[in-house]
Structure formats: structure tokens, C-alpha cells
């Protein structure tokens, strides 16, 4: 039987999406449901002096209006930060309470203060307009760089500082810098982004007063985790009386990890009014209240020798958390960022210091790449600048500092199990025709255009993550994953995974894995996920963990099935279990022609009785049925890596940047389905290039979001991209049986520095911030012209 792992298998999920049969949360309606509209703060920071619902309550169709007072009375808990981070001085981070409905004070535009529940959506909207809130507007803090000098937003949190975290050794770094021939320094901004999954968030909460069960359909990347948080911290319901279903989910990119205010409020309110409540975000609400990403201000320095050896690295960053610390809010700018900031290089001494600040903006949390794009942007901009200042070719300088052996003990935390960074660089150069660049540059020049080439090499720590490691770093949960493999008596297989697909293709790739492990045709394998009632607890999907953690749990559960199958076969065929081999779906007794198919064994496992001549197929003490569960806790993170090369052409008359070529050469370890990996790379690149050239979330000084619609926030379109040239090198991960590393975030991690390095190269080394809009680039072109004419 040919192996399916490694094959370009078309997706099992596609037909329903292509024929309009997908079932997203907003597609679901329940009998007698009501509709919720949230009344949100129009101010970034204000005290609620008075909230008057009397007029609204009389509005047609209103069922109930609930506010922060009722939430507080019912002791419904708030939203939480999932990781506790300690400051350099040993003190615990400081986080404000984040009630699902604000009662006394609002902290960002969009912070909800009340929910209006009505018979129809239109009636809910009309009534929400009649809720009168008297605010005392306070001065907002919106700037990341200046947040520590602003008014104190949350009582008791001085300087708006959540923590001041250090990873690394300042003294060693100081000594390394003293030995340096040259110090390269850089000031960069990692611009704030809005994830913008195409499906706006939504939820539908139902309550059954007889069973006292709440069912919440919601747009979540991790329904089990949502249930845990809502139960343990939200106090919404005991966990066994809360079912969370995340059906088809239209993209997440990190923005649907969090439990949101609306999930908690609708679940709690459904029980209160004893009816189902539906809420669907309008895109403008998504802009205001989905978590945002990135938003770092960084000063970094690299100590180098004249011949290009890296001696030391400093990273001083201010990270904006927004108004509140959410699930991955505090770990994203620390452990997901700091360790990776030394990049793919051997640097003897390094530290990352991060001051995380609160501002009156939407909460900032994990967005595709989460911390690693910021890390890669920091080091790769710095290395590119070093290559310019040292006059060493940008690829040679990188290779000079790549690790020469694996495992590679990276400076700050990670031990990278496998990789071959030189091979990746060489292949990327070849794919991009790096050596032919000068001819292309001259051609651009002859047409009055500026051409630039940019390189970046990255690694990332993903496949999150070993529970022991993450819990020691402050994570509130273990990050293992579970799988259940269930055989029907007639031989088909259902696999429940605790991870969740919102575009990642689990139904296909996980079925490929199970098909190979069990020797069952792929069409007889169904992958099920996204419903806390359908399977074992799971941690969900983020941090490129589905395959590297969840996929391995499936492998392990399949191996348990095979072990049981061997025992049953041995009993049935009167052999010893050690003599039974399993191959391509058949259990074969060694040195004989006796065998059973896995389908026959499954059937037998469900028929344990004895009658006349029929003997039980089950060995003494063996349970009937064929179903196994595995929990997999990885021993290490996984470490995809690669080199990307971009070429841009700039029209100095207009400042327009055209991305001419983009080459990505990645090492994801073993690839399960090349078609799907390609898709993941393309999508990541689009988001990374989007950050570099188009996307930017901007607040004004009063805390109003200036980019709150698709007319103001530039979403990359089809005509913004060239055809990407992608390729791979492959070193298997040594820490899991499939040798896989994860591929979902690589593009978003590597693309921003790659593109910006090219833009800045074209601009003669002038720093500009992301996104490299025509206006900024045009101004830089003007400067270039001035300095060129001076030089002449």
C-alpha cells in the first residue's frame, strides 16, 4: 500500500465549502432565538458616571438588557492572561481586572458596557441606540513608546507597566560589547496589525433549563480551552454543564484563541433569560474588539568584529499589551519573542529586555507568528544593516554566523534539535538567482527605477509546547494534545483531535496520517474536532502545534490500536503476540500465511462472546471494543527554519513599491501534504508582505481607531503579489516520530524583514518604518536624490 504521508491528497473538507454547505457559527439558527447587540464605549478611557437603560427597556421587542452591575452581582469572572510573567526584579506581573461588561471604567473604544437582547436583530439595534451612558472622559494613553509617561490607566499599576522582563545576562553582554570592533544599532517599530480573519467573530448560546446545560457555538480555535476558561475563571457554569462547539471557523490567525466578552456574556445571559442568544460581529466591531497583533518599539544592538563575527546582542523593547492582558498577551512579547531574537546565529552573549505596557487600545495578543515575527524582524534588520556597514555580502555574513552543528544551543533558551541553515541559504540563493541580481538592478536603473534585494534567515520555536517547560515559564496550562481513535465494528475509523482546523486542513492531513498508521483507506477515516461533547479535552490550534503535537497524539493512539490488534490476532490465530506483525492494514503471524485484516480485528473486538464453536477473540482480561486515546506532550519545541529573498522595484517618481520576486526556502521537516504546505506558506507570506507594505492599525491620540474598516485598513488583494517561488530543504525533527516541524507561521515570520530589507536596500540604506507606503518611500526617494546630488 502506497504511503499517503507525503502525497498531494485533495482536501476532504473542500466539497462542503465549495458548494455552500459549510456550517459556520453565523449560519446556525435555533428555534426561538434572540439577538444580542453590545453597547460599546465610544471613548478610549472614561469613567461611567451613569448608565440608563430605562428608555431602551421600553423599546419594541426588547427581552433583556444587562450591564456590568448584573455581571458583578452574579460574580461572573473576567477575561484572563494565560501566562504569568515575572519582572527582572522578581516581582509578578500586574494585570487589571477585565470584566466581560465594564461597570465603572472603560479602557478602549469598543469596551462593552451593556448587552441588549431582543426578538430581532433590528429591534436590538434600535434599543441599543437608546441606552444612555454618561461618561466622564479621561485622557487616553495610546502611544506604545510613551505609555510609561502617561496617566496611570489602571489603579495600582504604576507607569502602566505590566512587567519589565529580562532574559539573558546583561554583564556578559556588556563584556562582549567591550570587545567589539563595531556596534551596529537600530531603532525599529513593529507595526500594529489587525488579524482580520474573513469570518467575523460570532456566538450562539443556548440553555436547557431541564438539564441545566449551556451550549455555546462560537468562532474559536480551541473550544475545550474556552470551556475551561469560561468555567474555571468566568464562573459561567460547571465544566460538565457547558458544551462549546466551534464548527466551521473562517480563519483565526490567533484572533480566535481568546475567550471574548461576548462568549461569556451570551452564555451567562442565555441562562438568565432561558432562551438562545445569537450575536454576530459586524466587521467594524471586529476591527475594534478582536485582539490586535505586534506593536513593538525596539532598540537593538549587535556587537561585531570587523570580519563579521557576531559577539553580542541587546534587545530593548517596549511591547503594547493594549487595555488588558489576555490569554497569550503576556507570553507573546516575552518567551515567544525574546529567545528567538538572536535568530539563526551563534552569538555568545545576548539579552532581551521587554517592558510590557498598558494603553487605551484594543488588547494585543497572538497573531500569526506571535512574537517570532517581531524577533525575526529585529535580528534580520540588524544583520542586514551590519552587512551594509561592514561591507560584507549579506548572505556571506549570515552564513559566517550560522551554527555549524546540531543540536544547536541557541543563546537564550532553545536547543534546536535539527537543521541545516547553510543548505537552506544556498538553495534560496539558487532559486532566487541571487548571483544574477546585479544585472536585474542595472536593468531597473536603466528604466529610471530603484531596485533592492533583501534577505532574511529565520528560525522559529513552535509546535507549542512541552508542558513542563511552558508551565515553568508561567503558562497556566500544559500544552499537550490529545487524540481518540475509534473503530466502528464495520471497520471505518473516527479520529477525534483536540486541535482545531479553521483552514489548516486537518480533515485531510490527519486522515493521511491515520490511513498510513492503520492501513485503512482514507475515505473510511473521518477526522472530527471542535466539539467538547465529541471527544477528549484538547488544547486547540495555534503556534503551529496541530501537526507537531496533535498529529503525534494521533500516531500514538493508532499505535495503541495496532498493539491491541496484535494481541487479539494472536488469540484468534493461536500465536504469540510477539510473533504478530502489522503491515498495510494486516496482522500477519510471522513465518506463516495466517493473517487478519484490521477490519476483521475491529469487528472481532466488538463480538467478545462465546457460543457453541465460536470462541471469544479477546484474550483474557482484554476489554471489548476498539478505541484508544493518547495524550502527547512533546519533549521540545519544533524549529522550522529557512531563508527568504525578496526583490523590489521602486518608482522614485511615485514611491510605489512593486514586489518583483519573492523566494522562500523553508525546512519544515517531513511534509505530510505538499499541496497544503504550499498553501500555508503562501498565506503566511501574504500576511507578512501585507505587514511590510500595506497593513497598519493606527489610533489617534484620543484613542480612536483610525483604521477601522476595509476602506482604511489595507487588506492585501490578489493584485498586490507576484507569483511566489517556494522550495524546501528537509531535516527531520528528532523530537517526534513523524519528524515534522510545523509550517503555518513561517511566511508571516520571515516576510516582513525580507521585504523591508529589499526596500531599504533600494533606498540606499535609509530606514523607513512598516508599512512601506508610497508616501514614505517617495519621501525617502527625495532624500536619496538630494544626498546623491550632494555626493556628485
Amino acid at each position: 500500500m502506497a504511503s499517503l504521508v507525503g502525497s498531494r491528497v485533495e482536501r476532504k473538507e473542500d466539497k462542503r465549502f465549495l458548494t455552500g454547505k459549510g456550517r459556520y457559527t453565523s449560519d446556525i439558527n435555533l428555534a426561538n432565538q434572540t439577538y444580542a447587540i453590545f453597547v460599546r464605549s465610544p471613548h478610549a478611557r472614561a469613567k461611567i458616571k451613569k448608565l440608563d437603560i430605562s428608555k431602551a427597556q421600553k423599546s419594541s421587542g426588547v427581552v433583556s438588557i444587562l450591564t456590568g452591575s448584573e455581571i458583578a452581582e452574579d460574580k461572573i469572572g473576567g477575561l484572563i492572561a494565560g501566562w504569568a510573567i515575572r519582572s527582572e526584579d522578581g516581582t509578578e506581573m500586574k494585570c487589571p481586572a477585565n470584566p466581560p461588561l465594564a461597570k465603572d471604567i472603560v479602557n478602549f473604544v469598543g469596551d462593552p458596557v451593556a448587552v441588549v437582547i431582543a426578538e430581532s436583530l433590528e429591534e436590538a439595534k434600535v434599543a441599543a441606540e437608546k441606552v444612555s451612558v454618561d461618561y466622564k472622559v479621561l485622557k487616553a494613553v495610546t502611544s506604545t513608546a510613551d505609555a510609561m509617561d502617561g496617566d496611570t490607566i489602571h489603579e495600582g499599576i504604576d507607569k502602566n507597566l505590566c512587567f519589565d522582563w529580562l532574559l539573558g545576562d546583561r554583564q556578559k553582554v556588556k563584556e562582549a560589547f567591550e570587545k567589539a570592533d563595531k556596534v551596529i544599532s537600530i531603532d525599529i517599530i513593529n507595526n500594529r496589525l489587525i488579524p482580520n480573519a474573513m469570518e467575523p467573530r460570532a456566538c450562539l448560546a443556548d440553555y436547557n433549563s431541564a438539564s441545566e446545560e449551556i451550549t455555546l457555538y462560537t468562532t474559536s480555535q480551541n473550544p475545550h480551552l474556552s470551556r475551561l476558561i469560561m468555567s474555571a475563571f468566568g464562573n459561567v457554569s460547571p465544566e460538565h454543564k457547558l458544551r462549546v462547539v466551534a464548527p466551521d471557523v473562517g480563519g483565526g490567525f490567533g484572533s480566535k484563541i481568546n475567550v471574548y466578552n461576548e462568549d461569556i456574556v451570551c452564555s451567562w445571559a442565555a441562562k438568565k433569560i432561558n432562551r438562545a442568544i445569537k450575536w454576530v460581529a459586524e466587521r467594524s466591531e471586529s476591527f475594534l474588539t478582536d485582539i490586535h497583533g505586534r506593536d513593538h518599539v525596539t532598540h537593538a544592538e549587535l556587537a561585531v568584529t570587523n570580519d563579521g563575527k557576531f559577539l553580542g546582542f541587546k534587545n530593548e523593547t517596549i511591547a503594547n499589551l493594549g487595555a488588558y492582558a489576555r490569554v497569550f498577551g503576556t507570553v507573546t512579547p516575552t518567551y515567544l519573542f525574546g529567545p528567538c531574537a538572536t535568530g539563526v546565529y551563534e552569538i555568545p552573549a545576548a539579552y532581551s529586555n521587554v517592558k510590557a505596557v498598558f494603553t487605551n487600545t484594543a488588547p494585543v495578543d497572538a497573531y500569526r507568528g506571535a512574537g517570532r515575527p517581531e524577533a525575526t524582524y529585529t535580528i534580520e534588520r540588524l544583520v542586514e544593516k551590519a552587512s551594509m556597514e561592514l561591507g560584507i555580502d549579506k548572505t556571506e555574513l549570515r552564513m559566517k554566523n550560522f551554527p555549524t552543528a546540531f543540536p544547536f544551543k541557541q543563546t537564550l533558551v532553545h536547543t534546536v534539535d535539527s537543521g541545516d541553515y547553510v543548505a537552506g541559504m544556498e538553495k534560496a540563493k539558487q532559486m532566487a538567482d541571487y548571483n544574477g541580481y546585479e544585472a536585474r538592478r542595472k536593468d531597473s536603473e536603466s528604466r529610471g527605477k530603484l531596485r533592492g534585494i533583501g534577505v532574511s534567515s529565520y528560525f522559529e520555536a513552535c509546535g507549542i509546547a512541552p508542558s513542563a517547560a511552558v508551565m515553568s515559564l508561567g503558562c497556566g496550562v500544559g500544552l499537550w494534545e490529545s487524540a481518540e481513535v475509534r473503530f466502528n465494528p464495520t471497520g471505518q475509523v473516527t479520529v477525534y483531535t483536540g486541535s482545531h482546523s479553521h483552514g489548516q486542513s486537518h480533515q485531510t492531513t490527519f486522515a493521511q496520517i491515520a490511513a498510513d498508521e492503520l492501513g485503512v483507506p482514507i475515505e473510511n477515516i473521518d477526522i472530527v474536532h471542535g466539539d467538547t461533547d465529541k471527544g477528549t479535552f484538547g488544547m486547540g490550534t495555534y503556534g503551529s502545534r496541530s501537526l507537531t503535537v496533535g498529529g503525534i497524539a494521533i500516531v500514538n493512539a493508532c499505535k495503541k490500536i495496532v498493539e491491541k490488534g496484535k494481541r487479539v490476532t494472536a488469540k484468534m490465530l493461536e500465536a504469540s503476540p510477539e510473533d504478530v506483525e502489522f503491515k498495510d492494514g494486516e496482522f500477519i503471524v510471522a513465518k506463516s500465511n495466517k493473517k487478519k485484516t484490521i477490519g476483521e480485528i475491529a469487528f472481532a473486538c466488538y463480538l467478545p462472546g462465546v457460543r457453541d464453536e465460536m470462541k471469544s477473540p479477546l484474550p483474557e482480561g482484554e476489554e471489548p471494543g476498539l478505541k484508544e486515546t493518547a495524550f502527547f506532550d512533546p519533549s521540545n519545541f519544533s524549529f522550522p527554519a529557512g531563508t527568504h529573498i525578496a526583490e523590489v522595484e521602486i518608482d522614485p517618481e511615485t514611491g510605489e513599491v512593486k514586489l518583483e520576486k519573492y523566494t522562500a526556502c523553508d525546512d519544515f521537516g517531513r511534509i505530510i501534504n505538499p499541496m497544503i504546505v504550499e498553501g500555508q506558506v503562501h498565506g503566511g507570506l501574504a500576511q507578512g508582505i501585507g505587514q511590510a507594505l500595506y497593513e497598519n492599525a493606527e489610533y489617534d491620540e484620543t484613542g480612536q481607531l483610525m483604521t477601522g474598516s476595509y476602506m482604511d485598513y489595507t487588506m492585501p488583494r490578489a493584485d498586490n503579489f507576484p507569483e511566489f517561488n517556494i522550495g524546501y530543504t528537509c531535516t527531520h525533527a528528532t523530537t517526534n516520530p513523524l519528524g515534522v516541524k510545523g509550517c503555518g507561521e513561517a511566511g508571516a515570520i520571515a516576510a516582513p524583514p525580507t521585504v523591508m530589507n529589499a526596500v531599504i536596500d533600494a533606498l540606499g540604506g535609509q530606514e523607513i518604518t512598516m508599512p512601506a507606503t508610497a508616501e514614505k518611500v517617495w519621501k525617502a526617494c527625495k532624500n536619496l536624490k538630494k544626498s546623491n546630488s550632494k555626493a556628485a
Partner: protein, 153 residues
């Protein structure tokens, strides 16, 4: 309220609608044709594209009452006798979709492109799809799928 008569996916539909009911709302909430998606509130994203009298249209930009008498095709009506349209087949074959949310609008828009331009170039495809936003695919496989479908239609 007014009565509208439409032919939707080949079937005659008569319904009372409010004057301000959007076609997208009408399809989703009145007819339960939830394949047409709502991804924004400013007519930018294109997830709601359907065909009205053979031309692609963002269904959030039309009132149901305004298109009385029209023929509407939604993503649910594109396949014939259970066989997917060549565009749907091409999207599947070339992995032109991931989360699937923008897909119905993307497919309907792409079908209309090929009605108007049988052999579009890459640039023409990318230009045409400017009104459809996809956050997952980076568009490359969508472009490839449209080209593939062009060879089959």
C-alpha cells in the same frame, strides 16, 4: 413590506420583504442559503458575491426588493445534478481555498470573469479579483484555479 418574485437557483421564490432588506440578508435569513457569506459592512470583502441575471454582484449592495423579477444564482446553485462546476473542481484540485469563508464569493466572481474573458492572463485574473479578499491563501492557488477552470469551461 412588498412582495418580490425571484428565480433563485432555478426555482421560483415569492416572498414578502421589508423595503430595506439586503439581498444578502434575504438569501441567508429568509431562504437559509447560508453559503453566501457576510465578511464586512462596507462592501469590500466580496464574500457575498452572487450572480444576478448572469452578472456577479455583491449581494450586500442590493436590496431584495430592487431586483424583483431577476434570476439569482448563489454558490448552492452552481453545481448541476450533484456535479461541481469546473470552477469548483479547479479550486479543489489546486487548493484554492483554506478556511472556506471567502470561497463562495471568490468562486462566483471567478465564474463571471470567465464568462466575460475566456482566457484571462494572470494579471487580468488578479485585477478582476481585487474586490474579493482572502486572508488564507495568498491568492496564488486561486489564480491557478481560475486558469485551470478556463481550460475546462
Amino acid at each position: 413590506m412588498r412582495k418580490v418574485t425571484l428565480e433563485i437557483n432555478g426555482k421560483k421564490v415569492e416572498k414578502e420583504v421589508q423595503d430595506n432588506t439586503l439581498l444578502s440578508t434575504f438569501l441567508r435569513d429568509h431562504l437559509n442559503l447560508t453559503g453566501t457569506h457576510i465578511g464586512c459592512d462596507t462592501s469590500q470583502c466580496g464574500a457575498c458575491v452572487v450572480h444576478v441575471n448572469g452578472n456577479s454582484l455583491k449581494s450586500c449592495t442590493a436590496l431584495a426588493a430592487d431586483i424583483d423579477g431577476s434570476k439569482v444564482t448563489t454558490i448552492e446553485g452552481l453545481a448541476t445534478n450533484g456535479k461541481m462546476h469546473p470552477m469548483q473542481e479547479a479550486f479543489k484540485k489546486l487548493h484554492g481555498l483554506q478556511c472556506g469563508f471567502c470561497t463562495p464569493g471568490m468562486v462566483m466572481s471567478a465564474v463571471d470573469l470567465l464568462q466575460k474573458n475566456k482566457k484571462p492572463s494572470d494579471t487580468e485574473i488578479r485585477d478582476w479579483l481585487e474586490g474579493n479578499i482572502c486572508r488564507c491563501t495568498g491568492y496564488q492557488n486561486i489564480v491557478a484555479a481560475v486558469k485551470e477552470a478556463a481550460t475546462k469551461m
